[in-house]
């Protein structure tokens, strides 16, 4: 790991340099609604710097909301020309994501590549560099410290920046991170290890992960699931905002002769998600669907991949129109 410093005033020079070098830079941008979203930017001037959390995670960069799997076109031999377009994916830098989101990428990486590697995710992930920004503030929905993370966590990041007064402390974690720094190395100076503690937010710890991991073993039959799912509209917003939700649908757009096949985000909380064409629905009630969502994050993920698939970003809590709260629910069902 390389340790560097960069002065706050040079950050804009660095980011604009990446843009000039032809990279796509996806960064937090303040919208008129007052919410901050990840968007490709043309200049550092567009980048929001004062925000707790973006409304959606940056997972779209490696797992787009709607992703073309291939195009197909009728050919003269009576068959179809089928092509994916993985060669069109640009070099991308995600700028200013939070450590929880970077931890989300770490999970996505395990999920998509550990078994039956996913060609689309891999193509995008390989071309993506993550420049994470430590959190200097948080809100009541943040709970990263409950899920094995913290506001200065380097997990999943290629580079972690921590604002320290008039400069940024730069932890370069990977080769991808090195390449990015070396693209304008004159802006950086080397440093010894510095303590980040004084510059980091202090989120509340709501629960002990060790205790949850233990008690969730018997949580399936809990009577609390009903309460934990009451009010759920089955809107799927929690899954769409989540940095680790990976469920998708596959749809065709076009005619029999030409068009494309796409995959698009889906959500286990939606009532049609598991419905058979016979009408039979294995998870027929919202209680069963809410249980699936939480059991997947805290139990099934651990069994399949060895990690909890919740990073404590709090987006599902902020976005829920019915004020369902994952850290309250997970505690009630494991009481």
């Amino acid at each position: 790991m390389e340790l560097k410093l960069i002065s706050s005033s040079d950050i804009a020079v660095f980011v604009d340099g990446l843009l000039k070098a032809g990279k796509v830079v996806v960064a937090p941008v303040l919208k008129q609604s007052g919410k901050v979203f990840f968007k490709p930017v043309q200049s550092f001037a567009e980048v929001a710097t004062d925000y707790i959390q973006t409304a959606f995670s940056a997972k779209e960069v490696v797992f787009p909301k709607v992703e073309e799997l291939f195009t197909y076109q009728h050919n003269e031999e009576g068959g179809l020309d089928i092509k994916d377009h993985l060669d069109r994916i640009p070099e991308t830098v995600v700028w200013g994501l939070r450590p929880c989101d970077a931890a989300g990428f770490d999970y996505l990486n395990k999920f998509f590549l550990q078994e039956n590697p996913d060609a689309y995710f891999k193509a995008r992930y390989d071309k993506t560099t993550l420049v994470t920004m430590s959190c200097n503030k948080c809100d009541a929905s943040c709970f990263c410290t409950s899920v094995d993370s913290h506001p200065g966590d380097t997990k999943g990041s290629d580079i972690l920046l921590t604002a320290m007064d008039d400069k940024f402390y730069v932890e370069v974690m990977t080769e991808k991170g090195n390449i990015l720094i070396n693209s304008n190395s004159a802006l950086f100076t080397s440093t010894d290890t510095l303590s980040k503690e004084a510059f980091l937010a202090k989120p509340l710890t709501h629960f002990s992960m060790d205790e949850i991991k233990d008690k969730i073993q018997n949580a399936y039959a809990s009577v609390e699931w009903k309460q934990a799912s009451m009010g759920c509209f089955s809107c799927g917003a929690c899954a769409f905002a989540c940095p680790t939700c990976t469920c998708f649908d596959i749809q065709d757009e076009g005619t029999q002769d030409h068009g494309k096949r796409v995959r698009c985000w889906d959500a286990c909380g939606l009532s049609q998600f598991t419905k058979h064409s016979s009408g039979h629905n294995p998870r027929n009630t919202q209680t069963e669907r809410r249980r699936q969502r939480l059991m997947h994050k805290f139990k099934y993920s651990v069994e399949n991949l060895g990690v909890v698939s919740c990073v404590g970003c709090g987006r599902c809590i902020r976005v829920c129109p019915s004020h369902l709260n994952i850290f309250e629910n997970i505690q009630s069902v494991t009481k």
């Binding site: 065709d252 029999q256 995959r263």
Partner: protein, 276 residues
């Protein structure tokens, strides 16, 4: 990364057989002779009509019959409706084979009891022909099959064939009221017919597929016959999209039906939450 599991093979519909109301069998040939598609009994595929989408069903032909595959499906949703409107020589998409097959090699020397109903026969037909094509490797073979009505029985010609074979015991039945005037076989639900015949569980394997109610009603009778739960096999059919353990639709607890199954022993099924 050399494989992209979302790019389908292109297959030509070489033959169409109308099996029963809304149920058709397609014989499919690969347009690319170098496709080198091999599979094992119990695996499934994603069949796609371009512009409409993909639908999941088992490969209904036996891997012992090379050069083509067959699928049998009921027209019920958007994709299967579009699929049933296809004609001979149309090109459709095919992805697969996916999933864990039946452990047929472990059954050599054993009696095999097949139990199924209605549109549950196609996933077992693959295994039945796989067994019958190497008949000498297995003990007694019995098939319990029923449908709501005589018209709903699929593979009618093959049922005749099995009935006439001295090395197969076929117990054919239709639900009460589903019989025709010249129906000579059983009338009654499949579990009732099993109970009347009580197949021996000694050195035997039972394979059950079909509507959930058939599975549910057959299990106590198989237990009565002495079949241990790990000697009973079934194939689960949850909704699927990707077929490779990613899209999340088919999960039952931590289990992905697509990659951990679709073939499970009844013992394995009993460990899962009842979300199938």
């Amino acid at each position: 990364m050399d494989t992209n599991q979302y790019i389908p093979y292109q297959v030509r519909i070489a033959d169409i057989i109308d099996e029963a109301p809304l149920v058709r069998t397609y014989k499919l040939e690969f347009t690319d002779p170098s496709a080198n598609f091999t599979f094992k009994a119990g695996q499934f595929a994603e069949y796609g009509v371009f512009g409409e989408g993909e639908s999941t069903f088992c490969i209904a032909s036996s891997p012992t019959r090379e050069g083509y595959i067959e699928c049998t499906f009921r027209s019920s949703g958007r994709v299967t409706k579009a699929l049933s409107n296809c004609e001979i020589n149309d090109i459709i998409g095919l992805r697969g084979p996916f999933g864990k097959p039946f452990p047929i090699e472990e059954w050599y020397g054993k009696d095999i009891v097949f139990i199924t109903g209605g549109i549950g026969l196609p996933p077992l037909r693959c295994v039945i022909w796989n067994v019958l094509d190497q008949r000498e490797k297995f003990g007694k073979v019995s098939i319990y099959y029923g449908a709501r009505t005589v018209a709903d029985l699929v593979y009618k010609e093959e049922l005749e064939n099995w009935k006439n074979r001295p090395d197969v015991d076929l117990f054919l039945t239709v639900d009460p009221g589903g019989e025709t005037k010249d129906w000579k076989d059983n009338v009654g639900f499949v579990p009732t017919i099993i109970e009347q015949n009580l197949p021996s569980s000694k050195n035997a394997i039972a394979i059950v597929a079909g509507p959930p109610i058939l599975i549910k009603m057959s299990m106590p009778i198989l237990a009565k016959c002495g079949f241990a739960n790990d000697k009973i096999f079934t194939t689960l059919e949850n909704r699927m999209k990707c077929g490779v353990g990613k899209c999340g639709h088919c999960t039952v607890g931590k289990t992905y039906v697509c990659k951990d199954g679709p073939v499970f022993t009844y013992e394995e099924v009993l460990q899962m939450p009842q979300e199938y």
